[in-house]
């Protein structure tokens, strides 16, 4: 945006005209000590918990410890210029961040300031970062799906709009990959995405942004980045910032998906802040309220009913429900899910997608452990066709797992056992999917149908993926009407079933792979 000098002076004139000249009343305190981003302030007898406090040099802090004679404040950002004796002012506001449609396509820091070099964000609305989750009356049960575009997840561990589904696994098991695929797959669905990167390398964040841009997914995505080099305070508040931005869409009767990548690092940042504030350490040196840290955040991801949306928008939006779906990510150490933070978050969420490094290393990607992964509410939200066809897949895999140990004695096994093992091997193979290639409902239905109806049984295990790829391209070119129909309705009936069967039979007869 280019401005000429006269426009600039007009702008300034307008601002001066509207300037409030009344005397300013506030409470003041003095800095007593500055230690590792924690400032003790004497005075400030009227400070509120979580209040934004103003330091000299346009720096802000958040009051976290209110004591008899002093206030413990964590500085949001750089604290090197703050010295003993500086005055600190109360602002009378809880920490707020900008929210709105204008944030879509942007990369912002934990305070909502743009960091992508694309200029100021054109929004006037702000929202406090800490809000109480919607009450019982305001809620509605989850009954619409969020398609992540991954066969193994959408078929076996479905996620519904407003659900909290944990993605848990060791480092390097493809947790972020699932999240990015989920964002890419929301293109054109109207679901707005928020990706909160906590304590990650700047290079990883840049990578994510580039990948999303390449796949045209940035237009419906906000990225909130609190990288490893930023202060612990910012890493600790980043998820709440992202959540407030997501709630903006939820409260207007839209759907949003938020990914917290990852909450382990946020718990570390909060532990650091708490220990520096001299709060007593508990298990694994985390403070006593680390459960509440995550529960209050994840409780805000919810589906709210049309009446609540109407109330929140003042009657502007009628008859639409809103939802905020959360996909928190937790990184485990050596597959240990019984550590403090993983058990906490597992118990808070509505299910988990469990990723294993040995599956990942043996080439099963996404490395989803179908036995340990569950979705407690997603079943009600699944599309009819995937629900019908996915059930068989889950069963095949469960039976296969029990028998897998005997697979090497294949020659000594009876017919039915051998068949189950072979089916299991093929289904396991079929569940593999490349990164950045999410599938539509119809594509998934075709693959699952082929497996369920035994079309894969006559195909060699290492040819399964080739078969699938050839089948998909055949279906796309020859039966696009059927595919579109499935995508549009998601229904499953005898007609669709027989259509699919004839299509696959013709394909097997006429094509090679």
């Amino acid at each position: 945006m280019q401005l000429n000098p006269s426009e600039i002076s007009d702008l300034i004139k307008k601002k001066i005209e509207n300037f409030d000249l009344s005397a300013e009343a506030h409470t003041e305190g003095t800095v007593v000590s500055v230690t590792d981003g924690i400032v003790r302030v004497h005075g400030l007898s009227e400070a509120m918990q979580g209040e934004m406090l103003e330091f000299p040099g346009n720096t802000f802090g958040m009051a976290l410890n209110l004591e008899r004679d002093s206030v413990g404040v964590v500085v949001l950002g750089n604290y090197q210029h703050i010295t003993e004796g500086d005055t600190v002012k109360c602002t009378g506001k809880i920490l707020e961040v900008p929210v709105g449609e204008a944030l879509l396509g942007r990369v912002v820091d934990a305070l909502g300031n743009p960091i992508d070099g694309k200029g100021a964000i054109d929004t006037t609305e702000t929202a406090p970062i800490e809000k109480i989750a919607p009450g019982v009356i305001a809620r509605q049960s989850v009954d619409q799906p969020v398609q992540l575009g991954l066969k193994s997840i959408d078929a076996m561990i479905p996620v519904g709009r407003g659900q909290r589904e944990l993605i848990i696994g060791d480092r390097q098991t493809g947790k972020t990959a699932i999240a990015i695929d989920a964002i890419i797959n929301q293109k054109g669905t109207g679901i707005k995405c928020i990706y909160v990167a906590i304590g990650q390398k700047r290079s990883s964040i840049a990578n994510v942004v580039r990948k999303l841009e390449e796949h045209g997914a940035m237009a419906h995505t906000i990225i909130v980045a609190a990288s490893a080099s930023e202060s612990a305070a910012l890493q600790f508040i980043a998820p709440y910032t992202g959540c407030s931005m997501g709630e903006f869409f939820r409260d207007r009767g839209e759907d949003a998906l938020i990914i917290y990548d990852d909450l382990t690092k946020q718990a570390w940042a909060y532990r650091q802040v708490s220990l520096l504030l001299r709060r007593p350490p508990g298990r694994e040196a985390y403070p006593g309220d680390v459960f509440y840290l995550h529960s209050r955040l994840l409780e805000r991801a919810s589906r709210i009913n049309a009446a609540e949306v109407e109330k929140l928008t003042g009657g502007r939006v009628k008859g639409k429900t809103g939802s905020l779906t959360a996909l928190p990510i937790i990184e485990t150490q050596g597959g240990d899910v019984s550590a403090f933070v993983p058990t906490n978050v597992i118990s808070i969420t509505d299910g988990q997608i469990f990723l294993e490094s040995n599956l990942f290393n043996s080439g099963i990607r996404p490395a989803v452990n179908a036995g340990l992964s569950v979705s407690r509410v997603g079943g009600a939200a699944q599309t009819k066709i995937i629900k019908k066809l996915g059930g068989g897949t889950r069963l095949d895999l469960a039976q296969y797992r029990e028998l897998a140990a005997f697979a090497q004695f294949a020659s000594d096994l009876d017919e039915s056992t051998r068949k189950q093992i072979e089916r299991g091997q093929r289904v396991t193979e079929l569940m593999k999917q490349n990164q950045y290639s999410p599938m539509s409902v119809a594509q998934m239905a075709v693959s699952l149908f082929a497996a369920n109806e035994g079309f894969l049984d006559s195909i060699e295990v290492n040819k399964v993926l080739d078969f699938e790829a050839a089948l998909q391209s055949y279906m796309k070119s020859e039966h696009s009407e059927l595919m579109n129909n499935i995508n549009a309705t998601g229904d499953f009936n005898n007609e669709i079933s027989s259509n699919l069967r004839t299509a696959i039979e013709t394909f097997i007869k006429t094509h090679s792979w």
Binding site: I16, L21, A23, H26, E28, E46, E67
Partner: protein, 177 residues
């Protein structure tokens, strides 16, 4: 600083209670102020900070200096502080004592900074307005601060009412950013 205030609180509370019992708040207030002033003296500060000076000598020294300004009870309090190694708390105790006194007598200490001297009438009307605004009687200390350029800045405890030109300019600077 804040930790020292925490330590000083029980002493100040005890002193204030005793002072009220004996109806000697004014006297106590004066002597506490005097003793704090003595402690601010550089030579005395060196002695107080020196761990090698033994307690008896220190209390004799302090009593000698303050002799004419303090009562026997004040002296006993001084001895107690020396004995507990809490002599450094004296300025905080004095401050807290004043706060208790102000609360008890129902007024607030208000510091007013102006760029120019206030006329008598102005001062009176200003006092009335402030008393209304704060809902309490006030004891006003007026000081001149040329850097304010104009207007007044009022400080009552933690609360600051900034009606100075300087404050407004700073405010405007932020609004125009």
């Amino acid at each position: 600083m804040s930790e020292l205030a925490t330590l000083a609180r029980p002493y100040a509370a005890a002193v204030f209670k005793r002072a009220k019992e004996t109806k000697a708040t004014v006297k106590w207030s004066e002597s506490l102020a005097f003793m704090s002033a003595v402690l601010k003296n550089e030579n005395i500060a060196v002695v107080v900070d020196n761990p090698k000076v033994n307690k008896e000598k220190l209390s004799t020294l302090m009593l000698d200096i303050c002799q004419e300004h303090i009562t026997e009870e004040n002296g006993n309090f001084l001895k107690l502080l020396v004995h507990n190694n809490r002599l450094v708390l004296l300025p905080h105790i004095a401050k807290l004592f004043e706060a208790y006194k102000a609360e008890d007598e129902g007024y607030v200490e208000v510091e007013v900074f102006t760029a120019y001297t206030l006329s008598k009438e102005a001062k009176q009307s200003f006092t009335a307005t402030l008393e209304k605004a704060l809902g309490k009687k006030i004891h006003m200390n007026v000081a001149i601060d040329k850097s304010l350029i104009g207007g007044v800045l009022v400080r009552a405890g933690d609360r600051v009412i900034d009606g100075s030109i300087k404050g407004r300019l700073q405010h405007m600077q932020k609004a125009l950013q």
